[in-house]
Amino acid sequence: MAEKATIVTGTVGQDSHVIGIKLLSRYLMEQGYKVIELGGLTPAEEFIKVAQETAAAAILISSLYGMAELDLAGFKEKCTESGLGDVLLYLGGNLAVGRHRFEDDERKFKGMGFDRVYPPEVDMAIVVSDLKNDLKAKRQA
């Protein structure tokens, strides 16, 4: 079997919530992935730099304080410019402030170039199975 992919994880922006993404990171490690944890308060640019440096296959971003749209404006474009056009981008958390429907968030962030968008209480098993499938599809492409 091929070596498991490298995944970069963290919470973006001025957001210090880390429990969920830390649990997810640990879960991914248990599944055999190489996980680079950037933790809380991570600038969007740092995800890109670390992904370049580690030849990551996916970036998993968490945002819980509702500012994801601002923190991640142009993120896909920045990835593209940085040679990370093929890197999978996953995003999850509370993606807007106030009352909002997840479906709207999902549409918006997929429109911004994210491959997968999740609500905060998502099954981690689903995230991992999506990741497995997406990585496989990418290898075959």
Binding site: Q52, M67, E77, S82, L84
Partner: protein
């Protein structure tokens, strides 16, 4: 050589000369003759110098030391190419503008054959090729280099300022005609960082060494010392000196220069542009401290139709009573002849300045975050800039330059556009900004004194000042 300095601008329509006393910072004489760049640039230059020599008692001794800038023969025409529009294309465009260029084309992603043909037809002086951060994407810049290698490289210069890890491959692609291909530092070495200085220098170097030669401007070297920069660079240099001062001679502080012309309206700001108030989040590409924007659709002669539309849109041209006057001004080089034309000219310049400033200034928008409202700023906050200088014929020769400059002001009706709130206005009545920029290269103190002495402080009439709270 005494204290007299001759400073020359080879413009697209006029060749202008100013004689200044660098010891006193005074203008001794000015002259202006139609440009003769099409046949022989030296013909017009000699005519202009004759007038000056008579008035300022100068001769070959001063002429040999004269410095010039040029925007003749189309100026410095640059096509900028990058990868993502908001990132390296924007970075390359800013770098070129900062080097005094006119942007004649802008391309993103992989160039198509059709775009390549287009570039060939545009026939720019320089192609600025960016794309990818250092260590980032190299596929696109390499593809674009391969496409560009099909052009006739004897007729164009290529400045490569992209992902350095692609350079070796690009060198191989261009192995013929390598003389015209220059490699400089990446304009965007990493996301969120612009580095335009090296690129600027390279562009200007090509301009001085090669482009003016090709355009016949270099012939002027038979008479004057040298052509050292494109005219917009001279204006930028002047603006920066005026803002910063030189050694113990204080500058004014942050400055905006608005330059209205027949073909474009340019805005230069020498200002950090950081939020004037706390708790504002700044986003987008980092803003250069010295920033130049060029609005190619806001020339008061070339773009009369656009400007008239803008005037109508803003309810400033209610009927057709000015139709005749507008018609009369619709050719390049026309100066207003009667009262109606003067009014129209002022209106056109006003709306050009208003729109150009709207585009140059940053914007703030309110977003809702976990702590309540948050302000997000894109571009430069210029609300606290205290000095605005107007230059260019339509302002300088206007009967009401204050009305035109008022158009730069912050408006309570659109508070999200971060234009200056309460600046002082100055008018470049004697056309000395370019001259000061040239003089600044060798005698900055004199150049500063020249500007301080010869920019006319314009006190706006109270009726023009919108309510500022």
């Amino acid at each position: 050589m005494g204290n007299v300095r001759l400073l020359i601008d080879f413009g697209s329509t006029f060749t202008k000369v100013v004689a200044v006393d660098s010891g006193k910072g005074e203008v001794l004489a000015r002259s202006q003759v139609p440009s003769t760049v099409e046949e022989d640039i030296t013909i017009g230059l000699k005519q202009a110098l004759e007038k000056i020599d008579a008035a300022a008692h100068t001769g070959p001794e001063e002429e040999k030391e004269a410095l010039a800038c040029s925007s003749a023969a189309g100026g410095l025409r640059v096509v900028s190419i990058g990868f993502v529009p908001e990132l390296t294309v924007e970075a390359a465009t800013r770098a070129a503008l900062g080097a005094g260029a006119r942007i004649v084309g802008c391309y993103s992603y992989e160039l198509t054959s059709r775009e390549l043909t287009e570039i060939g037809e545009i026939s720019p002086d320089i192609i600025l090729l960016a794309g990818g951060t250092d260590g980032g994407d190299k596929r696109v810049i390499t593809h674009n280099a391969r496409m560009l290698s099909r052009l006739d490289l004897r007729r164009v210069y290529i400045v490569v300022a992209g992902n350095k890890t692609a350079y070796d491959g690009i060198r191989e692609i261009f192995n013929t005609g390598i003389k015209n291909v220059r490699f400089t530092k990446n304009v965007m070495p990493e996301i969120g960082r612009l580095e335009t200085e090296h690129c600027n220098r390279e562009i200007r170097d090509i301009f001085i060494r090669n482009i003016i030669e090709a355009k016949g401007i270099a012939r002027a070297r038979a008479i004057v010392k040298d052509i050292i920069m494109p005219t917009p660079s001279a204006v930028l240099a002047a603006a920066q000196l005026l803002a910063e001062g030189y050694r113990d001679e204080e500058g004014l502080g942050e400055v905006i220069v608005v330059d209205v012309g027949g073909a474009t309206t340019d805005v230069h700001s020498v200002a950090a542009g950081r939020p004037a108030h706390g708790d504002v989040i700044v986003t987008g590409l980092p803003e250069p401290y010295v920033k130049r924007t060029v609005e190619g659709d806001l020339g008061v002669r070339h773009n009369i139709t656009t400007l008239v539309e803008q005037l109508k849109l803003r309810g400033r041209l209610p009927d057709n009573s000015y139709a005749e006057a507008i018609e009369g001004l619709s050719a390049v080089g026309r100066l207003p002849q009667n009262a109606a034309q003067y009014s129209v000219d002022t209106m056109l310049a006003t709306v050009a300045v208003e729109v150009a400033m709207e585009r140059h200034a940053g914007r703030v928008e309110i977003v809702y975050g976990p702590m309540g409202e948050m302000a997000v700023q894109r571009g430069k906050d210029l609300t606290e800039v205290r000095h605005v200088v107007g230059t260019g014929g339509p302002i300088v020769f206007s009967r009401d330059p204050g009305a035109i400059l008022d158009a730069v002001l912050f408006r309570e009706t659109s508070p999200h556009i971060l234009r200056p709130r309460a600046p002082r206005f100055y008018v470049d009545t004697e056309y000395i900004l370019y001259a000061a920029g040239l003089l600044a290269q060798t005698e900055p103190k004199a150049a500063l004194a020249l500007m301080k002495g010869h920019l006319t402080r314009y006190k706006p009439a109270p009726r023009h000042v919108p309510a500022v709270t």
